[in-house]
Symmetry: C3
Subunit: 356 residues, 3 copies
Amino acid sequence: MSAPPSSWIRNAWYVAATPDELTDKPLGRQICGEPMAFFRDAAGQAHAVEDFCPHRGARLSLGFLRDGHLVCGYHGLAMGCDGRAVGMPSQNVERFPRIRAFPVVERHGFIWVWPGDAEAAQGTEPPRLAWAEDPNWAYGGGFFHVRSDYRLMIDNLMDLTHETYVHAGSIGQKEIDEAPVETHLDGGEVVTSRRMTGIHAPPFWRMALRGAGLDENALVDRWQICRFSPPGHVMIEVGVALAGHGGYDAPAALKASSIVVDFMTPETETSHWYFWGMARGFAPDDEALTASIRDGQRGIFSEDLAVLEAQQANLLRHPDRGLLKLNIDAGGVHSRRIIERAVAAEQIATRERRPG
Amino acid sequence: MSAPPSSWIRNAWYVAATPDELTDKPLGRQICGEPMAFFRDAAGQAHAVEDFCPHRGARLSLGFLRDGHLVCGYHGLAMGCDGRAVGMPSQNVERFPRIRAFPVVERHGFIWVWPGDAEAAQGTEPPRLAWAEDPNWAYGGGFFHVRSDYRLMIDNLMDLTHETYVHAGSIGQKEIDEAPVETHLDGGEVVTSRRMTGIHAPPFWRMALRGAGLDENALVDRWQICRFSPPGHVMIEVGVALAGHGGYDAPAALKASSIVVDFMTPETETSHWYFWGMARGFAPDDEALTASIRDGQRGIFSEDLAVLEAQQANLLRHPDRGLLKLNIDAGGVHSRRIIERAVAAEQIATRERRPG
Amino acid sequence: MSAPPSSWIRNAWYVAATPDELTDKPLGRQICGEPMAFFRDAAGQAHAVEDFCPHRGARLSLGFLRDGHLVCGYHGLAMGCDGRAVGMPSQNVERFPRIRAFPVVERHGFIWVWPGDAEAAQGTEPPRLAWAEDPNWAYGGGFFHVRSDYRLMIDNLMDLTHETYVHAGSIGQKEIDEAPVETHLDGGEVVTSRRMTGIHAPPFWRMALRGAGLDENALVDRWQICRFSPPGHVMIEVGVALAGHGGYDAPAALKASSIVVDFMTPETETSHWYFWGMARGFAPDDEALTASIRDGQRGIFSEDLAVLEAQQANLLRHPDRGLLKLNIDAGGVHSRRIIERAVAAEQIATRERRPG
């Protein structure tokens, strides 16, 4: 096990995969610096262990599943979900070294993993996502592998000014960066929001207005309320209402709204898994609409990738160059501060547990 | 010349290439950390020199052959097989620095090279391969570049348990890892063997039984006798006999047998050239059978590559994690010990030769 | 800003791009270790600034042009040609940190940049290229990215012996490396030349003879006069004249001649941009001939790339191995010496400017 990393919280639930990724084969994926082998047991329950066979170091995720165990594809060691070998042909595995097992739960349409100390996970559970439990809501999404620090994506999402530039052809519009931005702390979360009144809807929202049975050409009030919560989640309430009816607080029949869902899961210090999607409170059974929105988001969010990966390369090149922290950057700045404090607290706790 | 490496024997004959690779053009290949340029002289004899032109450092293997010399493709320096420049337009090459020449012999259908001290090669020759000199035997083979320490391939071949898992669709079968394995030292070699009695032949051996005119559905006795010899060779006697006729010692008419030929030649500390093939004592003139077996082996052995390359990456990530040394691993463990002792002896000899 | 590099002159004009590369989009290119964003202002004038947005470190060259400014594609910061931010939505940019701007001029069909201290560029200008100002001359060329130290290309061009080997099928011929080579210093330049008399023209020059209306089968006198000037330019006067009429000094009607134009611009210590072309004093309006020569040069010069990139890899592997400095190498040796002296002088000047 390597030294505690400095840029992510270890003791927390991260989205590791989507349920459809765990089929009748194991899945190898590195989360927070830990190569993990994910698999389902005979009852379909998801598990994760180190992706390292205690026999000869083969990758367990290249193996196969048998009777609910993960069988190494090299010499047949069968690994249980607790990191203990449960069998191997002609061998007594009782004294084989144990490998790490990581707490895993499947909830709200995601596979969640806890990369830190397993004991610390006891009694905790992944965040509740109200829309995931509500039959009046629908969700569609996907994920990307991004070669940048996951915090650059948090910065990105906590400052939607970039939509005007990066997403000029879809959700961006000039009014975004002209609208004042407001940031505040809400418990252990960061909220940054923008409201625009009496504007024309950009292409993406015109489609949403049509989908909600409203006039796509009408003037609208638009809002963006970004909420960061640790370890790396950003939920963005977004929507438009026919102008002059209260905006965010307008009656449901006069608005189209949804939640942009973003889970950033570190892979290494300079790469992450970006799980993105949209939850919407209208037309939940319209699967064609779900597919259409997902395709739209995939196209829009892929525009961020080139920008962030080039930014990451630039920052690695100039590690000591200070960046500006403008008012529009406050969301990201506060989010990073919350992460930093939690990481520091974990490191102090780790040191205290070690014999001196 | 770099410091003596720690993981391979320098003063030994390694397979460097197959004869058909040395045509009317030179061949560049790194062996035991040394970039070499191989070429044939006017009489067709194979040679190897450093792949570094003493004039300006160009790669000699990018040049061409003329009058039995290797001519640098940059400015025309002609290199002789002893590492001395033999000519260059308008230049007197007598005092040009000499580059290293490596002892090379062509024997038994392979080009062999001695990457260590040339004087130490005098009076030695590559191992005798009896089947290569016997007209009643046929050989077919090929080679792979593998991104792993060559010793991981030796481990692999000295523990055929893996066939049950890695090669489940061809030569693997459940009975292999259920059969007891026996390992012993035989002079400077390691022998590890398994015998299975009264089993059904797996697909590869069914084909061999057919090829030998025997009933592919009959019960058979099967054997695998792996023999490691330094610096990195593993010969495996394999075969099946109709059950109850003595197995390995059964009359020739009642069995199909062959030798799996494996030469592992280090390229770097974490990569090697893997020359593989099969020598068989039946139907030596059946070229279609030779091609069929070669194609089969190529498919089977390529299954090992992904496993070994992932294992290598895992081991680099966890350099201090001890691996298990089970009874099935004894063949590899003893083989590595032989290599380690030989390497240590070479290093002591090198230090003693140095003044001071 | 990194420490002064040791292998290139900083305070000098380098070719950075061709004018057609600067269109309505910015261009990102690293020159002498400095990532630069090139762009044209509203009047079409070329500029270069650091490729690093002072807001969050995004690459400015991924942005777009608006009103003569370079607008960052992430959050809309508008950068002026002097490295000062000129605007950003809802922000006061007056106190934003300035980034470096590099002196740029467009002249003689090239975009030139000065990667060193901007003040030192004042009053200087790129070298005059007489042929570029003469309507009786035509130019055609292109460029390559080469993974080698730019000085290996200078060596290459200052010793045309290599043509016999690398370009055997086009401009190379046996007589080149049989002809004596003469090298001398001419002010701050190095001149190395070869003259061949009464020879048959090689394929490229047969084409040129035809193009000039001369007998391609006649015996010719041939010359190659290579002239290096710092920081990394090599102009080569080349030509053939009908034999016995004075060679280089023969009447214009009896010869075909041209100038091989080579600008080497470092990217990193082990890579460079190679701008190559040919200026000719005949048939200046024959665009088909220009295209034909350019295609021929592209093919010929691409043959050098594999040689130089392999040479670079060999030299990195053997950093302490001395290379030969033969008479044919004198051109490169003297050119490197001029560069080394200029680099040393720059470093002394830099140290003296620093408070101490």
